[in-house]
């Protein structure tokens, strides 16, 4: 059976991709951020996941306002990146895992989340930048992935608690997947940032650190936030916290933080990286 071995949450700021393209990983501005990934690479090397489920938000590459799904799941054999309009180099395609995609689609729909399914899907920086950070060789050298998107553009957005339950449904779907494989969850986005309005540049370190604490042992506190509270405390684009909340919902066994790093600013954003170990509930019980 498939097993969720843990999760990695990271900011996905486009300028990280720009810094990678320019080879600025050791530049003084960027070094503290990129250095945070050394222990993450060690964790990946130790735990060797087979497939990733990547929960993120599209920023106007695959989806436009003509058709805007609240929750969408990629069901393709591969996923292409493309020009987003501001000069990031286009990355080679990423490999999918359509069997796992359909497992998630079938089992999540059975739990009353009415998904949009995508047999073709372009993945934007919010998918690509974290994949580059985790598997720097990229393309076919990254592990197969299933993209899952949450609408963060067009209000009304799904409530935080709905995202938490969506994640729980994904977790159950993965853990009932008959293939013997190790699954890592990725959540991308956040933490606090605001790009628009006269409050642009808003960052809330205190709230970000509170989120990074609560997400380990008290995720319900995050699920209880209203969209308005998230925008007030994390900025209008801080709503990407929804992806972190869904990721945490998918881990319903014992969760512990293996690594955590907060770094301000990454461009306009409170930059955060966290790694979680997960021991599935049945195994946690068996070990007691």
């Amino acid at each position: 059976m498939a097993r969720i071995i843990g999760a990695i949450a990271t900011s996905h700021v486009p300028s990280i991709g720009g810094a990678i393209a320019k080879g600025l990983q050791k530049d003084p501005y960027w070094k503290p951020f990129f250095d945070a990934f050394d222990p993450v690479h060690d964790w990946l090397a130790r735990n060797k996941p087979d497939v990733a489920v990547v929960i993120y938000n599209d920023h106007g590459l695959n989806f436009f306002l003509d058709q805007m799904p609240t929750f969408a799941v990629g069901a393709a054999e591969s996923y292409t990146n493309a020009d987003e309009g501001w000069g990031l180099p286009v990355r080679p395609p990423y490999i999918g895992d359509s069997e796992l995609s359909w497992q998630i689609i079938d089992k999540v729909m059975a739990q009353d989340f009415d998904l949009v399914t995508c047999q073709e899907m372009q993945v934007d920086h919010a998918f690509v930048v974290p994949m580059q950070l985790l598997w720097p060789d990229g393309g076919a050298n990254a592990i197969p992935a299933v993209p899952v998107t949450i609408n963060s553009i067009q209000h009304p957005l799904p409530r935080a608690e709905r995202c938490f339950h969506f994640g729980q449904a994904i977790g159950r779907a993965i853990e009932s997947f008959p293939r013997d494989c190790k699954v890592v969850l990725l959540a991308t986005g956040g933490l606090s940032h605001q790009l628009d309005g006269t409050r642009a540049g808003f960052i809330n370190k205190e709230f970000d650190l509170w989120c990074m604490d609560k997400i380990v042992n008290d995720p319900q506190a995050l699920a209880d936030l209203t969209t308005k509270e998230i925008i007030e405390k994390a900025g209008s684009q801080g709503v990407e916290l929804m992806c972190w909340i869904a990721m945490r919902g998918a881990m319903q066994g014992h969760v512990s933080a293996a690594f955590s790093k907060y770094h301000i600013p990454v461009s306009n954003t409170g930059g955060a990286v966290m790694v979680f170990d997960h021991q599935p509930a049945a195994r946690a019980l068996a070990a007691e």
Partner: protein
Amino acid sequence: MDDQFNIPGTPVFDGVQARKGYALNKMCYSFNDDANRKAFLSNEEGYMRKYGLNEAQKEAIRHRNVLELIAAGGNIYYLAKFAGIFGLGVQDVGAQQTGMSLQAFKEMLTAHGH
């Protein structure tokens, strides 16, 4: 720019904004494609007409003014693609909206860490 959340300085892209800004956002979304970016630059007025922008949206585009673009229904994620045509990033966009120099805006961001 009143909206349901009414958080100072913080536009929320709700149904009212989405309806108001559809043509503008659709034009900006087209700037994912390099050929469209070039077509815009070679004939801005014609390109705006093709997408059916209203006068307020055209004026905001002519002014390269982000707050005006948002007031005209623009969403920041699509507007970022418009800014990208001129090589401007989110920090330039933030500096313009807050009336700060780019340097001052960057310093303000860095100061959040302390």
